[in-house]
Symmetry: C2
Subunit: 124 residues, 2 copies
DNA sequence: CCGAGGCATCGACGGATGTCGATGTTGACA
DNA sequence: TGTCAACATCGACATCCGTCGATGCCTCGG
């Protein structure tokens, strides 16, 4: 595109609309990070993770979780599935019970990723 | 409800359904944290924050943000409002332009809060 | 005083999400 | 083998959320 076709802002008094000095988060990364954050952005799921983390060994079965959060068993199962798909917990079936275990590295990876892009960003 | 009406699990072979050893995140805190996380759990808002953080001084005006994210101006304005209400950015109007500034402490507070409840939880 | 431009708000629409009851699946035990 | 219990899946519903076009507000320049 010819540069002389771009209208020069003759009345632009101050310096505004600079393109973006440093590199920013690309669309793919933003989508992945947003999906991971969505898994955490729910009161029930936060409480479930907190209860699991409070248990010895960082694991708990569904029957430990249904009553404290005040939701039905299918709903709790659904939330645990969301957390598992996001990588925050792993599922292990022992006999009749299903034990969910916290994955601390998933939490650490998320917080580190946010910090890298928003705090110690390459542009700062 | 009379306790003797509760059927005793005579066949409960293993130890399951323990109440919860350590203290967990209460409902109010979970709701507040979830609301803050929801503000971040969107690809457009993550990119907006990233672009703002990449600018010098951690501030940018709306005209800097509309084109990179590929959304209309009203949509960008809406996302910025969500981010401002969650405390991640502050708005300052200079002349005709509105400058949004990143609040790093908001990001740090969130990640620290998550870590405190899910990693170095009081029960671990 | 009037026009232009940057930004916020409004109203509406489609899609995603949380919740439930009902049902299926699977393992333990008699 | 049949029954019970724990958990997952399904279908349905209400609600929330992201997006847009249209419009209003406010500031600057003429």
């Amino acid at each position: 595109m010819p540069l002389d076709l771009i209208p020069v802002p003759t009345t632009a008094s101050a310096a505004c609309c600079s393109p973006a000095p440093g590199p920013t988060m690309d669309a793919t990364d933003a989508e992945r990070t947003a999906r991971t954050l969505k898994a955490l952005a729910d009161p029930a799921r936060l409480r479930l993770l907190s209860i699991i983390a409070a248990h010895d060994g960082g694991e708990a079965c569904v029957c430990d979780l249904t009553e404290p959060v005040g939701l039905t068993q299918p709903t709790v199962s659904h939330h645990l599935k969301v957390l598992a798909e996001a990588g925050f917990v792993t599922r292990e079936k022992r006999g009749v019970w299903a034990y969910y275990t916290l994955v601390p590295d998933a939490v650490r990876a998320l917080t580190a990723h946010l910090g890298a892009h928003l705090l110690d960003g390459p542009g700062a």
